[in-house]
Structure formats: structure tokens, C-alpha cells
């Protein structure tokens, strides 16, 4: 698959015409379209997941509930719904690093991470994450300690996975908000690690 920067000449016109047809037919409410876009462009995104992770880092009881029933624990913070109906949290440790992919399409935990990034939907990621996960991590500049097992999770059903990255060293004095700032989207997919204090989120 190509990126949209690379082509799709004429598709803007085609989509505009499609919208016009569907509105004329009475199938869609244009204001509803605006509302859907606003939801995922401004409100639902990876800062939700970062709050979940930061809470798990600071509250052992919450961490336990998250690992036992992620859907319910995530709902405690007010997140849930479409493409997050059946959540499972995967906790990274020095022994195991989790990596989430959807080889068949683009399944992704929307309520906690928002819409998937372009690369998550790309043929490059979907094809390689399962056969060459270390190579994929290298594309993101991530090298794991020797002996770390990579556990790849292919989202082939309606279960959605959230990776809980390891809490970085030197963060004992930070509160939940500051910790959430260290939790990147990629670290919750498994293609990144949580930032060290002072590192800037991309």
C-alpha cells in the first residue's frame, strides 16, 4: 500500500461526490460526520491510554485490576466504546516485550489510543511485525536487551490490546500527570519505550 502523500489523484473529488450522494439520499447527517471527525481529531487519542498507564504505574491496586479486567479498569477512567469493547492489557517486563499488530486489517484500541497511525495500517508493518519484530523495532530505533522475549499479538478478533510499557528509571518523584507525559503512543503499541524524564515526545 502506498501513503496518501504518494498519490490518490482524484480521490478528494470522489469522496466529496460520495458524501453528496449519501446526504441527498438521506443516509447521513452532515453534522454527524463533523461530530465523528471532531471526536477522533480532538478528544479521543493516545493521551487517554497514557493516563491509564500512568495510573497503573502509581497505583498497585489499579495495576492489578487493569491486568485482570482491562475493559473495566479503563472504564474507571471514563474510556470505552467503539473498538475497545474487549480490552486486554499487556505488561512489559525485563523478560517480555509485547508488540501489537493487526496483520489482516487495522484493528486498534480506539478509546485509549485514538485512530491508528498510518504506519500501523501499512503493508510494511502488517507484513513484518509477525516475522521480523526485531527488525520492525529497529525501524523505530528500539533495541531490546539481549534475552528479552518479543511477544507479538496479532489482533485477529474483537479483543484489543494495550501495552503497558515499563516505567523508566529515575521517575520515583514524578506524579501521575508528569508520568503520563512520558508515555508515548508507540510505547503502548510496543514499537517504542516510555520516555526518560526530559525526553520530548515526538
Amino acid at each position: 500500500m502506498v501513503t496518501d502523500r504518494a498519490g490518490d489523484a482524484g480521490i478528494a473529488t470522489r469522496v466529496a461526490a460520495l458524501e453528496e450522494i449519501l446526504v441527498e439520499k438521506g443516509y447521513v447527517d452532515p453534522a454527524a460526520l463533523d461530530e465523528i471527525i471532531a471526536t477522533y481529531e480532538h478528544d479521543v487519542g493516545p493521551r487517554n491510554g497514557a493516563r491509564v498507564v500512568a495510573r497503573a504505574w502509581t497505583d498497585p491496586g489499579y495495576r492489578e485490576r487493569l491486568l485482570a479486567d482491562a475493559t473495566a479498569a479503563i472504564a474507571e477512567l471514563g474510556y470505552g466504546g467503539r473498538q475497545g469493547e474487549h480490552m486486554v492489557a499487556l505488561e512489559n517486563t525485563p523478560q517480555v516485550h509485547h508488540l501489537v499488530v493487526c496483520t489482516l486489517c487495522s484493528c486498534y484500541p480506539w478509546p485509549v489510543l485514538g485512530l491508528p497511525p498510518t504506519w500501523y495500517k501499512s503493508a510494511a508493518y502488517r507484513s513484518r511485525a509477525v516475522i521480523d519484530p526485531r527488525g520492525v523495532l529497529a525501524d523505530f530505533g528500539v533495541t531490546l536487551a539481549d534475552g528479552t522475549r518479543i511477544a507479538v499479538h496479532d489482533s485477529t478478533a474483537e479483543v484489543r490490546y494495550l501495552v503497558v510499557p515499563m516505567r523508566p528509571p529515575g521517575t520515583d518523584g514524578l506524579d501521575e500527570d508528569a508520568l503520563a507525559g512520558l508515555v508515548t503512543r508507540d510505547s503502548m503499541i510496543g514499537t517504542g519505550l516510555a520516555l526518560a524524564p526530559g525526553e520530548v515526545r515526538g
Binding site: Y27, P117, V159
Partner: protein, 218 residues
């Protein structure tokens, strides 16, 4: 089906290109494509499984050379035509020839609640689960012409049940409008070497979620 969407293990697509976290869309039409797809999904004429089948049914040369939102647009057009909601002539002309069929219209005021509610896929079934955590299972060798969620790269391979998720709607059946036919769903772990051979990372594993009819005892 063995379509272009079943990409696991293919080679030659080049490196993965990271993207900043605040990047959402490349172009305005992608916003509308997303919203149209979700809004028409809410109309209730097809399931998410049928939607996925429409995307995987796009001929491989087109699928592999289209961007992801372009795949969504093509699939949406195909679904609208297949369900008699829009004609090919209307799509070609870019305007409606007449009034539409009655559908459930998602209104702006209902969007937030609908997205927050979601659509749970877990169901109660009368049978008990055939497999238990720790059990060895083999993914069946099967090549259905219709929708399935068993990727080609695990077919015929042996793994271990990690978790019994509960019973979920079976996409293979639901995608063709043949009912939800819920089945037990399992998280199954495969060693990378079982999937990819001796050169694979001995410390890596790949888990898939597989419905009971995808599996047999090993």
C-alpha cells in the same frame, strides 16, 4: 479468503516509517472517508465483519497500491451498491438519481453516545469450551472463499492456548449475513520457529485470537 489483506509474513514492502503522535490525517478527504464509513456502518445494513470482507475482496493489485483510506472508500462504495442503497450510475455521475431507501440515520446529537457505547461482540453460548489454557492445538488448514480471521501464516501450525476469552460472534458467518453463530474464542501462542522455521528468533512468539472451529487438538 486468501486476499491481499492477509499480509502476515510477506516481504518487500520496505521499512516502517514512524509518524508523530499528533498527526491525524494527511488530507481533508480522509476525515470525510472515515466519518462516512462510520456513519454508514451505524445505519445497520452491514456488520463490521461484512465491512472487513468488502475490503479484503478488493483485487490484490488495487489493494496493495491503495492507501488505507482509499481502501475504505472503495469498500464503502461496493457495500452501498451491494445493498441497493446507491447505484454504480450514481457513483459515476457523482449525484443521486432519486430518494434513498429508509435507513437508520446517525444524528449528530447521538454520535458521542454511539461511539462511547460501542458494539460488544461477546455472547453467551450453551456449550462449554472445548479447549483449556495450556492445551496444545493446531490451527486447521482451511481456505474458505468467504471471510475468515485465521491468517494464512498460522494454518497447519501448532500452538498453545493461553487464554479462553469467552464466546464471541463468529466473523466467518456474520460477514455473509448468516447469523452471529457465536463460538469460544482463544488466545493461541505460536513459537516463531514453528511459524517461520529455524532462522526465526527462538525467543519470540506470535499470539493470534482464534475461534474454536479454527482449531483442532494437537
Amino acid at each position: 479468503m486468501n486476499g491481499a489483506a492477509d499480509l502476515g509474513g510477506m516481504m518487500g514492502f520496505g521499512p516502517v516509517v514512524p509518524e508523530p503522535e499528533d498527526h491525524r490525517f494527511d488530507a481533508g478527504w480522509q476525515r470525510r472517508a472515515l466519518a462516512l464509513t462510520l456513519a454508514m456502518g451505524a445505519a445497520g445494513r452491514w456488520s463490521i465483519d461484512e465491512g472487513r470482507h468488502a475490503r479484503e475482496s478488493i483485487p490484490p493489485p488495487e489493494y496493495l497500491t491503495s492507501s488505507y483510506y482509499a481502501i475504505w472508500v472503495r469498500a464503502l462504495e461496493d457495500l452501498l451498491v451491494a445493498h441497493g442503497l446507491v447505484t454504480r450510475a450514481e457513483l459515476a455521475a457523482g449525484r443521486a438519481d432519486g430518494p434513498g431507501e429508509p435507513v437508520r440515520v446517525l444524528r449528530a446529537g447521538d454520535v458521542r453516545a454511539a461511539l462511547a457505547a460501542g458494539t460488544p461482540y461477546s455472547r453467551q453460548v450453551a456449550s462449554s469450551a472445548r479447549f483449556a489454557a495450556g492445551q496444545r492445538v493446531r490451527a486447521r488448514v482451511m481456505n474458505p472463499a468467504g471471510h475468515t480471521r485465521l491468517p494464512r501464516y498460522v494454518r497447519g501450525r501448532t500452538g498453545t492456548v493461553v487464554t479462553v476469552h469467552g464466546a464471541h460472534v463468529l466473523p466467518d458467518s456474520n460477514a455473509r449475513g448468516a447469523g452471529e453463530s457465536p463460538q469460544w474464542l482463544y488466545q493461541v501462542r505460536f513459537d516463531a520457529r514453528e511459524l517461520w522455521g529455524e532462522d526465526a528468533d527462538p525467543a519470540s512468539t506470535v499470539d493470534v485470537d482464534a475461534w474454536e472451529s479454527y482449531l483442532e487438538p494437537a
